[in-house]
Structure formats: structure tokens, C-alpha cells
Symmetry: C2
């Protein structure tokens, strides 16, 4: 039988891992990375990669799976940000509806 704190940790891991899915979908759809911080996604990817290594070291399957998924999603978002920041050809300023 699971203890309360174990249930809480599963809820927490599910939410923090799954949260990057709507962000990745939004970024893929809109390609708008102006409001995304390059610093954040660079540091976050390093951090999640470190958690993955940690999971492998202590052989904890839940930590490995959660961080592997998060790493893939974070790297997708980071790729769009890097592309837009460094490789995208400059275009004329475009009309963009403020939300």
C-alpha cells in the first residue's frame, strides 16, 4: 500500500513532467519563442539531464522515465529557441496581435 507522501510524489512528478507537453505543442505550432528565455531552457536541460544521470546512478526507474520525457520536451523547445535566436534569417518586422 502506498503511503501518502509516495502518492504526493507521483502526483508531483506527473504534473511537472506533463507540463512541458503543452509548451512543446505551443512552440511547435506557433514557432514563437520571443517570450521564452534561452538561459532558462539551457539551464533546465542541463538540470534535467543531471536528474536523469542521478536516476541511472540510484537505479530509480520513475526518476529515469520522468526526466527522460522532460528532457526530450525541453530539448524540442530549446531547439526552436536556438534556431530562432541564431539561425533564422532576419525578416521585416511582422504584425503580431498582442494577446
Amino acid at each position: 500500500m502506498l503511503e501518502t507522501h509516495e502518492i504526493v510524489s507521483y502526483v508531483a512528478a506527473t504534473f511537472t513532467t506533463a507540463s512541458f507537453l503543452p509548451q512543446a505543442i505551443l512552440t511547435i505550432k506557433t514557432k514563437d519563442t520571443d517570450g521564452l528565455s534561452l538561459g532558462m531552457y539551457s539551464m533546465f536541460a542541463i538540470g534535467v539531464f543531471s536528474w536523469l544521470i542521478y536516476g541511472i546512478q540510484i537505479e530509480d526507474e520513475a526518476i529515469i522515465v520522468a526526466n527522460a520525457i522532460t528532457l526530450v520536451l525541453a530539448c524540442i523547445i530549446l531547439s526552436f529557441k536556438i534556431y530562432n535566436s541564431f539561425f533564422k534569417k532576419p525578416s521585416i518586422p511582422q504584425l503580431k496581435k498582442k494577446r
Copy 2:
């Protein structure tokens, strides 16, 4: 003496926690939340809050501190997103330089 996996976990926690600082600074400065997912920050805040509860339950100071900091930063970003999405008066489309 710290074991390797403990050092890795501290590095991981530092990076994933600190990563939200540049994002919060960028959002405060530019107020641009178009590229940020409301779903992500809502789910992420719930997840981090759950990790905070978990830290309190197992009385782990590092988990409490790391998630308290992340929660504050995530809530700042989420507040801007909610304000821009639901409370900001519609304005004429503005010129925005594509980066």
C-alpha cells in the same frame, strides 16, 4: 563525504531551480507571454506545489527550499500569463520585431 550521486543531485536541483530565474526576469522585463503556455505554467505550478508538500512530509530541507523558490518564480511567470490572457484590454495589433 558526499557520494557522486549526491553531488549530481545537488547540481541537478541547482540547475532546474535556478533556470526559472532568467525566464522570470525576461517575462517581467518584456511582459511578452505570447510564446508561453498557460497549460504548462498551470500544471507546473501544481506539480511544484506538490513537490513542496512532499518535501514537508518527508522533512527534506533541500526539497523544500528548491521547490519553494521554483514555485515563487513559476507563479510570477504564471501571473503575467494570466493577466495578459484574461485581463489585458485588447489593443491594436502592435509592431513586434521578429527575432
